[in-house]
């Protein structure tokens, strides 16, 4: 009997998503039964790495089989879910999912910043977005997507914020590592170009023209198109 199939059967009939820790408990409990045979006993103290490897293999198997459902890990727990393209029929079957309204653009931006840069203070979020985020932070906290995780050891000890488990569930993510382009966004290193960016080349040497432009409010005529 293969480990992955045992796992498949467990996840197939589980009432809720199961974490590797919960799965290990099942293996331990099964081995503790009096009538447990050698196979069951041999899996008593299965290692988490083995479990994860078998689960990953199972995911690949299902993917290759091209079924209407797949095995996913959301917020660290495994479960079977349907593929999104079958939603029209599923909605008719089970009714529209009770889900809170979609997030607004400001809320999504704020959430993205917190997700990639956590733990982060409110002031730091505001610095990136360039606007006040009091309202959106409150919405995100009320919806349980963001929570206070501690306090920054700087003057005033401002609150630090991070995302919650619900955030991962809401977006169907395995972990924070699973965020799109996570590596790139965690710490954006903006390369300073050697000759930075300027306004117009030679602008400084030609003040009278510029003054004229400002008066007229017409800039296009005198400004050469920016080199691209």
């Amino acid at each position: 009997m293969e480990l992955k199939f045992i796992l498949e059967s467990l996840l197939f009939s589980a009432q809720k998503p199961l974490s590797p820790a919960e799965l290990r408990e099942v293996f331990a409990n099964a081995a503790a039964e009096e009538d447990a045979d050698a196979t069951v006993k041999s899996l008593k103290k299965i290692k988490e790495a083995e479990l994860n490897a078998a689960l990953e293999q199972l995911v690949k198997d299902h993917e290759a089989a091209g079924r209407s459902y797949r095995l996913v890990c959301v917020a660290g727990s495994w479960q079977f879910v349907t593929q999104p393209e079958y939603a029209p029929w599923l909605k008719a079957l089970v009714g529209v999912k009770a889900r809170p309204p979609r997030l607004s653009q400001p809320a999504l931006e704020t959430l993205a910043i917190i997700a990639y840069r956590q733990p982060i203070t409110r002031a730091e979020v505001e610095q990136i977005r360039g606007v006040n985020v009091d309202g959106t932070m409150q919405t995100l906290t009320e919806r349980g997507l963001v929570e206070q995780t501690g306090r920054a050891e700087v003057v005033g000890r401002p609150s630090l914020y991070g995302t919650t488990g619900l955030f991962l569930e809401y977006l169907g993510l395995k972990s924070l590592e699973d965020l799109p382009a996570a590596d790139e966004l965690r710490r954006i290193v903006v390369e300073k170009p050697p000759a930075p960016v300027t306004a117009d080349a030679g602008l400084a040497t030609n003040p009278p023209e510029q003054l004229q432009m400002s008066e007229g409010g017409e800039l296009k005529a005198e400004t050469p198109p920016p080199a691209s």
Binding site: V81, T82, P84, E109, R129, L171, A181, L219
Partner: protein, 261 residues
């Protein structure tokens, strides 16, 4: 300004507006002409003012930063006033570009999160029916001994142990017969009653004792049965099924308290 047609979008903030203006110019953020951008930004603010829109403070801060950058460009390099900030090597143009690049990345990331959000709406988890086995709830122990009852009443009486030594003295106004009527009344309206419920309203030790004596009397008269589902569990009091049909003939429950003595 007349050709300046703006589809009136709501901008999340000054950075959002700047990104929009840059996108309109179809240039890379790094190569953007800040002087031109400053002009456009201020034109936009002017327009917002014309439409009587409330201009958030952040827009004005950005406008002043842009004006500062623009005015700085007007001076030949050697005549620029060296501010303290610049001694630290912070170029305001560079600072703004850096901020724009960073904001742009998060704006894109937000769009990706939005895609995930929409996708997740269409994903349905497998929710199997609960596998149920016949669970055998331990049958109530039919007989409750007098010790079980005493244990139970003792725990009720503990409520009255910690009393202020100085207290008001009330007349003992409860009689066992009244309490018998009370217990019978409770059990006509309901199937069963928990032991503790009977004593929930008791206000004094003597009231508890009266109710307890009433209970014992009714048990003696075989009007009630007591059952306990587990050791030291809650005792449940029910009417004896037969007792409803044929109440004890000679011994009426209405006993005077002295009968018990």
């Amino acid at each position: 300004m007349s050709e300046y047609k703006v589809k009136f979008e709501v901008f999340e903030g000054p950075l959002d507006l700047l990104l929009y203006l840059i996108k309109k110019e179809e240039v890379d953020i790094y190569e953007v002409n800040l002087t031109k951008l400053a002009t456009q930004f201020i034109e936009y603010i002017e327009m917002m003012r014309e439409f009587d829109l409330e201009i958030a403070g952040e827009f004005l801060v950005m406008a002043s930063t842009l004006m500062y950058i623009k005015s700085r460009e007007l001076l030949p390099v050697d005549q620029r006033a060296e501010t303290e900030e610049e001694e630290e090597g912070e170029d305001p143009r560079w600072e703004l570009i850096r901020q724009l690049v960073e904001y742009k990345k998060f704006k894109d990331a937000a769009a990706q999160l939005q895609t995930l959000e929409a996708r997740q709406e269409n994903v349905f988890p497998r929710v199997p029916g609960k596998i149920e086995f016949e669970s055998e709830k331990p049958a109530p122990k039919p007989d409750v001994s007098i010790f079980d009852l005493l244990n139970a009443v003792n725990s009720v009486l503990k409520r009255f142990e910690k009393r202020d030594p100085t207290r008001d003295i009330f007349e003992d106004k409860w009689t066992v017969s009244e309490k018998i009527e009370y217990v019978v009344r409770v059990l006509t309206s309901r199937e069963s009653v928990r032991f503790s419920e009977l004593f929930a309203d008791a206000t004094s030790r003597s009231e508890v004792v009266c109710t307890f004596l009433a209970l014992l009397e009714l048990i003696r008269l075989k009007q009630l049965v007591c059952a306990q589902s587990e050791d030291f569990g809650e005792i449940e009091i029910k009417k004896r099924p037969a007792a409803i049909a044929t109440p004890a003939s000679s011994d009426t429950p209405n006993l005077a308290p002295d009968t018990l003595a």
